[in-house]
Amino acid sequence: MTVEIARHWRLNSQRYSLIGEECPACHYKIFPPRDVCPHCAEEAGPEFHFSGNGTVFSHTTVHTPPEGFEAQSPYTVALVKLDEGPMITAQLTDVDNGAVEIGLPVEMVTRKLAEQGDEGLILYGYKFRPQMAMA
């Protein structure tokens, strides 16, 4: 069991708080972290903490889920353009599937991602919800 979790455990810092990198050469903000900057191919640099704010670039709703996601179906997944630059794939939460639109401002929250395998492994990580209108 410990063994299987390693695959996910190693991604915890990215999944719980959107920690990526900033390229020391071209200053491109990188997420997920890489060993080499995808922009300029230099070795990637120091940690960069993303704000978790972004907008919906595209979205769709999944009705036929893969193994491990049956309980959540139907759910909405999106391409989210982070304010700092990179795009990521994530589920939307705390929103009606039909109410999602391209351009919707969203913010990161931590939620259950999936239940996997016979061992009942539960994965947590980032999802996005509509940004709360601040007072």
Binding site: H8, L11, P32, P38, F57, S58, H59, T60, T61, V62, H63, T64, P65, P66, E67, G68, F69, E70, Q72, Y75, V77, A78, L79, P86, M87, I88, T89, A90, Q91, I102, L113, A114, L123, G125, K127
Partner: protein, 385 residues
């Protein structure tokens, strides 16, 4: 580099082959191709397949299929590039013959989809995407295409109906292909009424997954005459890649690997896109058909659907596509699809495409897409005359 020709082709009907296992399907296609080429021996076998390990619990299918086809002992290996495994295997076959290490080479694309349950199949297909940053969020293969299509329609102000003719054309052509999974034409109304799978992708935007196998025998062109008088010449063979995850692409609405591999192929074949008589593209989803047409140089960004709307893609149009039904109607047996495209192109160039035979088929192109565009293989073929 040696010139290379196809001297034999074979395919099984695409569908649910409950009684035939992976090894049987591969044999069926190989057997037909070897008979067509009139050879009982080959120097090497390249197998294109994506999911044998995940679905059938069977890795190591190179020697398995070689032995089962009566070719025990020959060099045989599996090539995997998700849905582009077929083109990738053909590419390795071409490289093998070009190298001089091998003369007569067999390539088979095979996929056995009906050996596992739906949710595990869905998970298997999703393994073509980034497991750590896409799949883990519940994104399916359909969803990735839906995400691209949604933004594409938004960006270019398109509606559902703009994509209809890709599907209508494919089904019209599939009706005359005895190996197609769906052999009935559909109307635009049927397309418009179809249920949504993952918005905006509806049932008739998506291609059906099924079992299938298709094969070709290739050899140096100077040897081809010994085998056949209807050799099809391989003018170009190219593969390019892109980031695995859609979110990592410079432009998620542009198939960079299709542009790169097509342009390499045009250079190798010394032709311009306008000279092509037909194009077997990868219409796993209607959005992929549009993006392929754009990246291969037949339309500007955002204008791919116009070729469908105005009829250019029909058998009597300027650039016929999916001439035997495409992925949409012939079916999409993942790792076999690229080889179906090549076999169908060869049928057109040999004048053996039956009711769908193009009157003028001298130059044809195939393009096979892995995942949502991370591996794309493009090949150009020329008839004997």
């Amino acid at each position: 580099m040696r010139d290379i020709s196809i001297i034999g082709i074979g395919q099984t009907p695409v569908g649910e082959h409950w009684g035939r296992s992976l090894r049987h399907l591969a044999y069926d296609a190989l057997h037909l191709a070897m008979k067509d080429a009139g050879t009982e021996r080959v120097d090497a076998l390249y197998v294109g397949n994506m999911l044998s390990g995940e679905i059938s619990g069977q890795a190591h299918i190179g020697p398995l299929i070689a032995d089962f086809a009566g070719l025990r002992g020959i060099e045989a290996v599996k090539i995997e590039a998700a849905c582009a495994s077929g083109a990738a295997a053909f590419r390795q076959g071409v490289i093998g013959v070009a190298s001089g290490y091998q003369d007569v080479v067999a390539v088979v694309g095979v996929e056995k989809m009906t050996d596992d349950v739906g949710s595990r199949l869905t998970a298997g297909l999703a393994s073509a995407a980034d497991a750590d940053y896409e799949t883990v969020h519940g994104v399916t293969f359909v969803a990735l295409n839906a995400l691209i299509m949604q933004r594409y329609m938004h960006e270019y102000g398109l509606s559902k109906g703009d994509f209809a003719n890709f599907s209508v054309n494919a089904h019209a052509n599939g009706a005359n292909n005895p190996n197609a999974m769906f052999r009935r034409a559909i109307s635009k109304e049927t397309f418009m009424r179809a249920g949504v799978v993952a918005n905006p992708v509806s049932l008739f935007d998506a291609s059906p997954m099924a079992d299938g196998a298709a094969a070709a025998i290739i050899c140096p062109t100077r040897l081809a005459r010994e085998y056949t008088d209807k050799a099809v010449h391989v003018l170009a063979s190219a593969i390019a890649t892109d980031s695995l995850a859609v979110h990592d692409r410079k432009n998620p609405l542009w198939l960079q690997a299709a542009e790169d591999s097509a342009h390499t192929a045009y250079r190798q074949a010394k032709i311009t896109p306008a000279e092509l008589d037909f194009f077997e593209l990868h219409d796993a989803f209607t959005i992929m058909a549009a993006l392929s047409l754009e990246a291969a140089g037949f339309a500007k960004a955002g204008q791919g659907t116009r070729l469908a709307v105005n009829g250019d893609i029909a058998l009597d149009g300027k650039l016929p596509i999916a001439t035997m039904g495409g992925l949409k109607a012939r079916g999409h047996p993942v790792g076999a699809t690229g080889m179906y495209q090549i076999v169908e192109a060869a049928l057109q160039l040999r004048g053996e495409a039956g009711k769908n035979q193009l009157p003028h088929a001298r130059l044809g192109m195939t393009q096979n897409i892995g995942g949502s565009g991370a591996t794309i293989g493009t090949h150009i073929f020329k008839s004997s005359e």
